[in-house]
Point group: C2
Chain length 349, copies 2
């Protein structure tokens, strides 16, 4: 007998759609192997409408409906004909907050796009869902970097789980090591990894950045990649989740890579090193500090990979140093992280 | 209220002793944090005697007793005064098999030294313990490489767990990924990694091997490192545990590195590559094949690290390619793998 899990999706952009696509095929198989049957009972978006259906939303139809984008009605009113609304059953819901308050679900999966400077609105959605007693899975680094402490305390009070394996390195198991993390260092921003790799080969920074945008790995605003903000947010997420810290991205000592020249990158390479934008988390005088800066990494070090791949090395109390690499970061990996968190909820509850 | 877990240790060499040392301090803390209290109710060895004590063996005393090695009595009879026997309570036990048959325990931890060509006696001990209905944790790659299929079926029939996280890469979480593994490639033998790294710098193979022996990372018989046998055994362990294969080390197409010269290693380096002994597992025509051979790895690839560190890259069905690195392999990591398996038993049972 499969256990039934009711899922409410908040956000239906790239990650949410990939999750929904695969939930009909391979993810259903994985969940079934663990005795689970997942049913999406609601999808809420800011611009594509809101749908709730207790029997389970037909995901193929939802995907087809949003593929066209938000509709405009003849009299020009967007919203009057938002595509997902057509799948809705029951009283209309005014907005995402009303959805979170009422959707019949066991787990809320939060995959909205967020403001990288504030982590909103993801944090508010997560807080509201935990407050209602739902388990929450988020693929956003925002809640973990900006508000993990209060959200974890809320979850503990409500006896629910808050999981976020997809928030850093897209589901590579970094939040689930077991051992205590003493420090970490990583090249976590794919865009700067790729741009610096290309600059070593003589490409200009701007041409390399255009490539990263073409490949779809740059942030919506690539300044967040190059000025180290994305790395700082990820560093805070790791420090807060794994080292018991409460560091906010604003507190990170941050030097970006916007001023690194191709000449410097090539010079580093000739000296047997690679210039990479490194984020470090370390405990000093009892406090955890996170910093981001370009560093010269010797060949052979796990952080000296070429291309966009992210690398992370942990120094742990009981397992020594271990490294995790993510090759060819993709939507598939982020979407799968949601499944791995679902399995964990089923295991622990 | 802590749950009590009774542990029987078979083998009390380096790994077993490190586990016992740390079980008094940091491991007890980790287990306590998960609501567990571990008590070692028995230790069995081939040469240092056998002890059973239902109330829990005093580990500090056991460690001090074996530190001196097997005693010789005045009339020259070894065995009559085997040190652990002094901690034994109850009817004497003739040998390890009698111990496994009678020790009061929930989990048997198997950490004997084994014959790398046959995987024995570890396999027999694991089989006997599973047959008795005990959960089994082994840090030996032997049972996983040579006999995983039958042992798993036995465990399933007896409704017990067989765990082996320490068998490859010393507890770095490789057997616990979640996703399905389509193929893997790794530099899993620390000795050949170190020897090849040193040869790149101009050291001769024999001087580099002496270093590996001095550092304690070479196998008891270092031919098993250089001829690729150790890598083949680890490759089979991975293929059998993660790809549902039933490959035995004898079936591995294996080219060792004993004939690689320092000149070749340096030549590879000048060409922007590193010569490494690589083990690959791949599915071809429906069958899983494992092979071991020296390969040229381009800089920037996760397998191109320098020094003894092991690296492993998995191609998975749902998470893309992910890599795991172990830096500074140590006894601590192998011993901690036993704890992480204990936690898993507690979680699943």
């Amino acid at each position: 007998m499969a256990r039934d899990i009711r899922i409410a999706l908040v956000g239906f952009g790239n990650v949410g759609r990939r999750f929904a696509e695969k939930l009909r095929g391979p993810y259903a198989r994985v969940l079934r192997e663990h005795g689970l049957h997942a049913r999406v009972t609601g999808i809420a978006t800011a611009h594509h409408g809101i749908a709730v259906d207790t029997r389970g939303i037909e995901l193929g139809r939802a995907l087809r409906l949003v593929a066209g984008g938000p509709h405009r009605t003849r009299n020009g009113l967007e919203g009057a004909n938002r595509p997902l609304d057509r799948l809705h059953h029951g009283r209309p819901l005014a907005d995402v907050r009303a959805f979170i308050a009422r959707v019949p679900a066991d787990v809320l999966i939060e995959v909205t796009t967020l403001d990288p400077r504030s982590g909103r609105p993801a944090i508010d959605y997560v807080r509201q869902a935990l407050g209602r007693g739902l388990h929450v899975i988020t693929s956003n680094k925002g809640p973990v970097a900006f508000a993990l402490g209060p959200l974890r305390r809320l979850a503990a009070r409500k006896k629910t789980l808050l999981l976020h394996e997809g928030a850093v390195m897209d589901g590579t198991p970094v939040f689930n090591l077991g051992a205590r993390v003493l420090s970490f260092r990583g090249t976590l921003n794919s865009t700067s990894n790729l741009v610096l790799s290309r600059m070593e080969e003589g490409t200009t920074a701007s041409a390399a950045l255009r490539l990263a945008q073409r490949l779809g790995i740059a942030e919506a605003d690539p300044r967040h990649d190059l000025d180290g903000w994305d790395a700082a947010v990820k560093g805070c997420a790791l420090a807060n989740a794994l080292m018991g810290a409460a560091v906010r991205p604003q507190q990170v000592r941050r030097t970006g890579m916007a001023h690194v020249t191709a000449l410097e990158a090539r010079r580093a390479l000739r000296a047997g090193t690679r210039l990479r934008l490194v984020v470090r988390g370390e405990r000093k005088d009892g406090r955890v500090r996170v910093r981001v800066a370009p560093e010269r990494i010797p060949f052979g070090d796990p952080l000296a990979g070429s291309g966009p791949d992210a690398a992370l090395v942990f120094e742990t109390d009981l397992m020594g140093e271990i490294g995790v690499l993510e090759r060819g970061a993709s939507l598939d990996q982020t979407a799968y992280a949601l499944v791995s968190d679902l399995l964990r909820i089923a295991r622990e509850r």
